[in-house]
Each structure stands twice: as C-alpha cells, then as structure tokens.
Symmetry: C3
Subunit: 434 residues, 3 copies
C-alpha cells in the first residue's frame, strides 16, 4: 500500500501567505507530519509514503518526511491527474490512497477508509449540513453512481461531498485510465473517476461526519487551529518557568524553554511554542503561538495564529494570522471588528470574498514590521518583508517589500506660558520685589 | 398631600446628552425613583405623586413610576407655571409639594420641609458659601420677605437660595394666583410667589445645608455621581464571580451577574452594574458603570459616568460621561487634561461656559463608536450615533449621526534591506561560496 | 592639599539637556557630591575643596557643596588652563588634585593617585581596550615621557589614556608654567604639561582599569546610570507602602515616601526616588527614576533615566533620558529601535554622531509635555518647555519652547445605519405592523 500525498500545488488564494499550506505548523508539527503520524498509528511505515512535490518544496519535504519515503517532482502545477502520473512509477502494483494534505480531518477518516473491504475504489464522503460548492456523490447501496460537481444549492443529489482521500486498490488500472482521459480543463482526475464509474468499476463511499476543513483561504487557518487546539490537554513541559502570579487555565500546551512572567493569564485552549517569553500582564486566549516568540509587556493575543520568532510589545492581536519573524511596536493594534459591524470581505484574485467572519484582524506574511501606535484595519493583508511606519492607520492591503508611512503636515508654534508657568513667573517676580 | 414633579422641561444645555436628566440612573435607579423612594420613606404613597411630563417622556414615566400615580402632559415646555397649571385638576383641595426632580439633595430636605408646621407656604433655602446665580431669599424671623433673582455677587440679601422644593398648603389659592399672573417672560411662577408674598401670604424658609446640586450642564452629572457614590457601603451581590487575584477596595457595589477577571483593581467608591464584565488588569476608581458593560483587558476608568451596554478595550476613560451602547476600540483614549493646564470651557448655545474643571474628558451621547488608537481631546462632545475612525485626534465637537475620520496622505516606498537581512544575505553568499 | 573641581565649562554637546553634567543626580545625590563623598572617605574635608564654577552655577554649587569649600568663578568658559588660573590664589603653596567632575570613575582611582608617593605630578592613566580619541601616555618605567593627543587607531604609544585626575605637588610651579604657556587654541593646559615633561619634571602614571566614563553626549548618561545602579544593594526605606501583589526583585532602592501599587513589578537594578507613586501593573526595569514621579497605570519604564516630578500614564519609556517635570499622556511612547535595525545617529553641532546604540529612545529636556497616543521616534531630542500634541509622530528634533502638533485633514460623512441598527429598525417596523 502506498499513501500518495499531493504536495505540488500552489495556493494563490492564500496570498499574502507564501508557505505551502501543509507546512503550516500546529501543536509543534507541520500539517503534513500530522497526516503521516495518523497513518503511522494505523501501521503505515515511512517507506509507504509517496510525495509529489514541486521544485520549491521537495527538499523541505524530504527533510521533514524522511529518507525512506519516496518523492516525485511535478515541474509545473498542472492538477491532480498530472501529480499522480508524475509519481506513477512509484505506485505500480500497489494499492494507493491519494490524499490532499491541505485537507484537515480526524484520524478516524483514515481508519474508516483503510478498513473498507468492499469495492475497487473508495472515496471519503463528507456529510455536509448545508450547501458546499464541491463534488457531490450520488450513492446507491453504498455504491457511488456519479460525482456531480457543484450542483447548486437545492440540487444536491445527496449530502455527501467528495473529499480527496481516495483509495484505489488497482493503481495500474487507475493510472491507465488517467493516461487515457483527455480534457482541455483542469479536471482530468475527476473525469477519470467518472469514466471508471460509468465503466462499472465498483466505487464505494466511506461516510465521514467528523471534523473536516480544506485550507483554501488564509482565514481557514483559524478552523484548523481551533480543531487542533480542541484536541489538546493541559501540558506544561518540565523546566518551563512560570511566575507564581501567572495563571494557566484550561487546556494549554507550553513547550520547553518558555518563560511566563508575572500576572500573565493564559486561557486555554492555547499553544505556546518552544522558548517563548510571555511578558508581564499579557493575556493569551484561544491562540496558537510558534517558537521563540516574545509576547512583550501587556499584550493581548486572542484567537490568533502566530508563526515563529515574532515580537510583540503592548499590542492587541485578535483574530489575526501573523507569519514568522514579524514584530509589532508598542501600541500597534490589529482591529478585528468593523465599526459598521459588517462581515469582513477580502478581494482574492479580483473576486470579493465574504469571509463570513465579523471578527477578523489582519493577515500578515513573514518578516514584517509594524511601527508603534499603528492601527491595521480588519481584514487587511500585509505582504512579506513589509514595514508599516509609526502611527499609521492601514486601511488597504500592503504589497510585499514595501514601506508604508504617513507623511502629514505638522505645525510648529511658539509656546505661550502655561497657567502654572505664569503663576511661577508671578511668584518669582513677587519674590524679587517687582 | 400631593407631590408634584415637574418633568416636562427640555434640557438643551445638556447637549449632546438626550435623556431627561431625572431619568439618569444612579446606583441602579433613575433619579426620579430616588426622589420617590425618599418620599415613600416619609410615608407618601404612589397615589400621592403627580407627574407633569411631556409627550416624549410620559410613557416612560408611567412605566417607571407606577399606575397609581397621576400624570399630566405639558404639550410644549412653557415653564414652571404652565407645568403646574397643566396638572391643576389633579391638585385641587390638596396641600402640594412642588419639586424639580433635576435637583439632587439629601432626603433630609424632604423631611424638614414636610414637618414644617408654620406658614402657608414653605421654600427650601439652600445655604450657599459663595455666590450662585439663583433667587435669594430675604428673610426676617423665618418669614420670606422677598425673592431677589440673581442679585449679583456682594449684593446678596442672605446666604439662602431658592430651591424648587416648594410647599403650598392651599393649592387652590396658589393656582388662582398663578392663573392671574401675567408676564411676557418665563417667570410667571416667580412673579406669582412674589405677588403672594407682597399680598401678605406667610412664606417660610426651610433652611438646608446638606448636599445639593442642580443638573444644568452635563458635567454636573459628576457631582451627582459623587454624591450617590458617597452614600454607598461595600456590597457585592451573591453570585458575582471575582477572581482571586482581583481586589475590591473601599465602598464598591457590584450588582448581580457581574464578573471580575484576574488582577483587576476596583477602588471605591464605585458602582458596577448588572452583568458587567471587568477584564484582566483593569482599574476602576471613583466611577459609576451601568449594566451589561464590558470593560475589556487593561482598561482604566477613573471618575467617569458610564451608561449601559458599553464596551471598552484597553482604554483610558477619565472624567468622562459616556452614554449607552458606546464602544471604544483598543487604545482609544479620552484625554482629560489640557496640555496648557487651563480649565476646560465648553460652548453651550453660543456661550463659552467655564466648567471650572481642569480635569474633564469627553461627553458622549448614546450609541457612538470610537476606532482603535483614537484620541478625544478634553471637553469634546460627541453626538449620538456617531463614529470616530481609527487613529483620529478629535479636537472639536462631533454632531450626531456623523462619521469622522482622518484621511491623510500615505507614502509608499520600496523597502531596502535591513542590517539583519544584509547580514543574512552575506552569510548566504559566503555559504554558497561566492 | 586642595581638590580643584573644574565646573566652569558648558556642555554644548549635551543639547537638549541644559543642566551641568556634574549636577545630574544618581542614587539620590548629584554627581559632584559623589566625587566629594569619595574623597571625604579618604580623609579630605569640605575646606579642602575648591570649585571653579561659572556665573550660572556658582550659587547652586555653593548651596550643594557647603560654605567651608572655596569657590572661584570663571566668567567665560575658556578652557582648563583658564579655570585653574581663575582659582590660583586659592591654591598657592598647596598640593593640588585637579579633577573634571564630568568624568565618572570608581573611588579606587582617587585612592590610588592620592597614595602615589613618587614623582612631582601624577596622572590617572585609564587602560583602554580599544582606540579612544583622547591623549595617550607614553610611559617608561612609570614615568610619563609624552602625551600624544589623538594619535589615531593603531598608532597608540600605549594603552593608557589621560584622565583629568591630575596631581601636582608643587602648585606654584604648575601655575607659573600655565601662565607662561601660550597657545592660540584651547590647549594651554595640555601644552603646559608637555613643556613641564620636556623640562624634566617627573610625571608619573597611576594606572587604572576600573569603571570610567566621560559624559560627553547625553546618551553617556546611560553608562553612568548603569554604573551607579550596579553599585547598589536592595534597600527599601521604612514606611514605603508596597501592595502585597507588587514584586520587587533584585537590587532596587526605593526612597522614603514612595508608594507601589498593585501588580507592579520592579526588576533591579533600579532606583525609585522619594515620594514616587508607581501605579497599577507598571513594570520598571534597569531604570533610575527621580523624586516625586508618578508612574501611572500600566506604564513600562525600561533602561531609562528619569528626572524629578515627571508624570507617566500608560506609556513605554525605553532607553530614554527624560528631564525634570515632564509629563506623558496616555499611550504616548518613546520608540527605541529603528524599523531598519540600524544604530541611532544624532546630529551634534553639524556632525552626525553614531551613538553606537541600536536601542535608544528619546532625549527630553525639562518641563516638556507629550500628548496622548503620540509616538517619538528613536534618538529624537526634545528641547525644554516644549509640547507635543496628541497623536503626533515626532520624527525630528524639537527645539525648546515650541508646540508641535499635527494638523491633518479630517473627513466628515453622514452615517448610514449599521447592520444592527437596520435590524432594530426592521424589528421596530414589524412590531408596529408595517
């Protein structure tokens, strides 16, 4: 059996974030490693994994996922079919489980599909409660009769949506079909399955109603964060220094080397990475903070996902996603609620997308700096390596590698004496006798 | 005996505040109800009260003051005489006590005037220490000989000022006089008393030197707040959740359903209304906070009167009056002290009035929103339903239903590498061997 | 023996600070008094001290240093030779120790030079580790052969630099030489010593490798502050009120009359002057705070030197020097780190001087006021009696007696209803039946 992870795609809709989504870390581990660990828990070995990466991420993948696994490189991101075919020589004669590692679900999904005995292929079918613009499975007696792409609300043939956790017992047959399918669009993979079903291959659904999310837009990271934070228990690694007046409440992980200063309150669920310093009086709630962050004096971090090596100093970071190596000057704030109380919408590739969130702070890529007393408006995206000057109100997205600052007119006046100074001057004159 | 409350007037000088002054709540109860309760404590019953309201407030009055009381409606606010005459049919044959419920005084004032046996009428005479621009009572052997309106400093006939707590034993006579008095100005009531005194009616003074204030301008609310706060004892209602590290010091009332978070300090006298949440590290001193307010993380509220349903988040609210349903973004501040240390003056109906306060923050009507990191200058008035954008310095009054925001020129520059980035780039080049 | 303190000079490079450097207070005592006390510890008496002041400071010097000491006044600041000659009548027939009291060094330096028995003159020679632009001592067998002014890096004749702690056993001879030396530059004193050495006078070096700093630029105050803070032990004067939840850690002096409020943390070394109030939640680290300062609610003071009578209110004061009687409004901040991570450079008399510090906040003279939410950029100097308006970003130096404020364009718009208001309006309409 081979597990095939499709890691070659490029997530343009994740702008300004630049990392591959499956490399995002949760609870101290990249998402892709969470997938592997779930599968290892079911008996899979490192050598059973095949990764299709791209030229930019294959080295990182190898480093992370081990030398016993196998790797293929998809030169350009041409879709799922191309990805599978890129790796075809590594899959011959094997049962294969194809997984999109940007999807997040519970280990039970793997368990259920792997123990499925019936059928030649099996597809994870996610039970939805409301319309989702994906592929719906038409099912009769557990057998999939058709996959209907985006049927439109009210026209769904079932409540089961196709999740890319696909088991194909006969990979050779599947690959042959893939190679023979023609399409001018990016849907060769879907057409292949369609053709196979029509040709009478026995495709089964594995119903799943646990947690599932696909990281499509940056704000979906919140869902994943919440999922992982809800899986943790309280765990404070030995040697973590916590001042007596600090309070750690609920399910909170604090990793090795961290220091928690006076009067800090951390309300779980929350994750504090290695070697973090949480400064005096800070409050952290429902957040995920990477390694080596310094959360300086009197900072509040609420429902935020923070990368590694970030610095804060008396800030409010709420409902925000902050990349690695970002720093915030004193008093800088991510506003997270519109004054008109509307949902926050974000323009993604010329389309204005309603995030369906009325609380959303900022989305900031790696290595940004924010000046003191700056204010970033809800839903603003800051590109990597950018700088926001002191006292700036940021109402629009900022591209990578830019400096934004405010250049207003300042007035200079001669000072007249204050009441106190006048009084003192009068006293002085009286003392001197004139 | 009938108690006649004059509730029909309109307090233009209270702008931007829109509520009737006697409906302001102190210690959980509207001012008018404090008056009623004081009188009930002296044996009066609900049916003994008569209210002259106006079309806008009579429903609210009925709801508050009970069905057994009697109500009259003054169509337009034409002064005290008109108010009394509006209610004349409810007063026939009764002793009457006429009260301006916008005045605040101690229960003893009622007690003293009600137990006064001598004379046909009695007037509460407030002992002043310095000149007050009101009506002064010329008194001989307890009998009032004349009422001198605004005599001017140094020309006062006594130190007793006429407070509208007026007892008339023979209401029919008083009403007849009122009806017969003619004036082209808004002084029919005063002229009536003048005429009666001159005609030999026996008007007595009831001297009073306890607390008294008339709410004329918004900042007089501070006096009333202080008065009520000084009457309270420590009282924390059962079930209020207070974190162990919080500290409640002095005379503080905390109403039911409130929650006090970690490291909060509340220094009495202070009043915290029902279902309030006081967030981590906040400091509240000498303030009065209405129901259902959320005083978020690290907020300082000092000597302020706050309405219901307000939200704060890391703010300083000092010497300010804040209406209902207002919200303040992170870092917003009410500056309360001029940099030139002068008293704060406020323009009221074309007149610049010296508040005689050198500490005065902002006066904000209902349902306003203040953006993050905004600064409101001392004495600024914000009309109801207005919004102040993020990072705005508000130096002037803002009318109701407006949005004020700053639209400055922002500069965008390409970023050059930082020292650290240059160092890293050099290290990278060295590693790569060039 | 006479100790001659040269107090007549004017430190232009200390702009914007206006005090004489030797009058700066450390650990409750002016620098000049520290010098005196060190020498008194070695047996010197008040009458043994001679001060050369200038017309502006001689009164203050007399007041501080006592009536038994002797004083001379240098009319204009004409250099060291002129200073010594100004006091020559007070020095006749005495051994003299000439000291520049703007230098700070350990008491052992005095001890060593005073117990030196050999030679006719002795000079304190400070052992440097790296090039310093001063006078280097060429030494053979403890005898000084030459003093080489600013030889340039790599051309130093030794590692010993001339510090103005100079012992001359025969003051009459020294004065005679001074009077005979001619120069068109400000180097008569140096030339005199040069001539004497060449004429065969026996000048000895007293080597010294303890702490030494000359206060040349304002930021050198940090060195002196650190030196003094490193000499202290924990000492909290009786009667200081410290709330139970406050924490004083390490070597901290708190002087009489101070009050420390709830949840304060003070991390030594630190000095808190008389009658200071340290407000709730504040954090003070490695700082020196003068008398009667109010460090209001939630303020962080880190590695700063603060004068007397300053007021803070929710500020960050980091790596800054703040004069007397300054006040900071809520949310005002001294930024102390450039967003480009460069060292901070400061223009001193047309020369851009690299402070060699990458952390430097602001340098503020006496009696300045900073408005709420203002941001002062790293290394900015604020002249005395100046005011910075609310919400101002100060990027350039501000001269004394100025008011700087921002006058930007503000927009006013009619407010449209919020989602909530629309909902309420709809509910209202439904209730009313239309």
């Amino acid at each position: 059996m081979k597990i095939l992870f499709l890691c070659g795609g490029i997530g343009k809709r994740m702008y300004p974030l630049e990392e591959d989504k499956f490399l995002l870390k949760f609870i101290g581990k990249e998402l892709i490693l969470h997938h592997m660990d779930h599968l290892k828990g079911l008996g899979l070995k490192e050598k059973d994994f095949v990764f299709v990466g791209n030229p930019s991420n294959v080295d990182k993948l190898k480093e992370l996922c081990g030398e016993d696994a196998e790797y293929a490189v998809q030169k350009t991101p041409k879709g799922m079919a191309d990805a599978v075919l890129t790796a075809k020589d590594l899959l011959r004669g094997e049962e294969i489980l194809i997984v999109n590692p940007n999807d997040v679900f519970e280990p039970s999904a793997y368990e259920e599909i792997l123990k499925k005995k019936e059928g030649e292929s099996a597809i994870l079918g996610y039970k939805v409660c409301k319309y989702f613009p994906g592929g719906y499975l038409t099912v009769e007696n557990e057998k999939i009769k058709e996959i209907v792409e985006k049927p439109g609300e009210g026209k769904e043939p079932s409540n089961l949506v196709n999740i890319v956790v696909h088991l194909h017992r006969n990979s050779d047959e599947f690959i042959r079909y893939l190679e023979e399918t023609e399409s001018e669009q990016d849907d060769v993979y879907e057409r292949t399955m369609d053709r196979m079903i029509k040709d009478g291959f026995d495709f089964r659904v594995v119903e799943y109603d646990g947690f599932w999310t696909a990281i499509k837009y940056p704000w979906h990271i919140f869902n994943v964060m919440e999922y992982f934070l809800n899986t943790i228990d309280k765990q404070i690694v030995n040697g973590v220094k916590i001042q007596e007046s600090a309070k750690i409440e609920g399910n909170v992980i604090i990793e090795a080397g961290a220091e928690i200063f006076e009067n800090v309150v951390i309300k779980g669920p929350a994750y504090i990475g290695k070697d973090c310093v949480i400064g005096n009086n800070s409050l952290i709630r429902g957040s995920h903070i990477g390694d080596r962050c310094v959360v300086g004096y009197s900072t509040e971090i609420k429902h935020a996902y923070i990368g590694n090596d970030c610095w804060f100093h008396t800030n409010y970071i709420g409902d925000s996603i902050i990349g690695n190596e970002c720093s915030f000057g004193y008093g800088a704030v991510t506003a997270n609620f519109r004054l008109d109380e509307k949902n926050i919408s974000i323009k993604v590739e010329d389309e204005l997308v309603d995030t369906e969130l009325d609380k959303l702070g900022c989305i900031m890529a790696n290595n940004c700096k924010v000046g003191v007393n700056s204010s970033i408006m809800p839903g603003v995206r800051i590109g990597s390596n950018s700088i926001i000057g002191a006292g700036t109100v940021v109402t629009k997205d900022l591209e990578p590698n830019k400096i934004l600052f405010f250049e207003g007119e300042q007035m200079l006046r001669e000072k007249r004496m204050t009441v106190k100074e006048k009084k003192e001057e009068r006293m002085e004159r009286i003392k001197r006798g004139y």
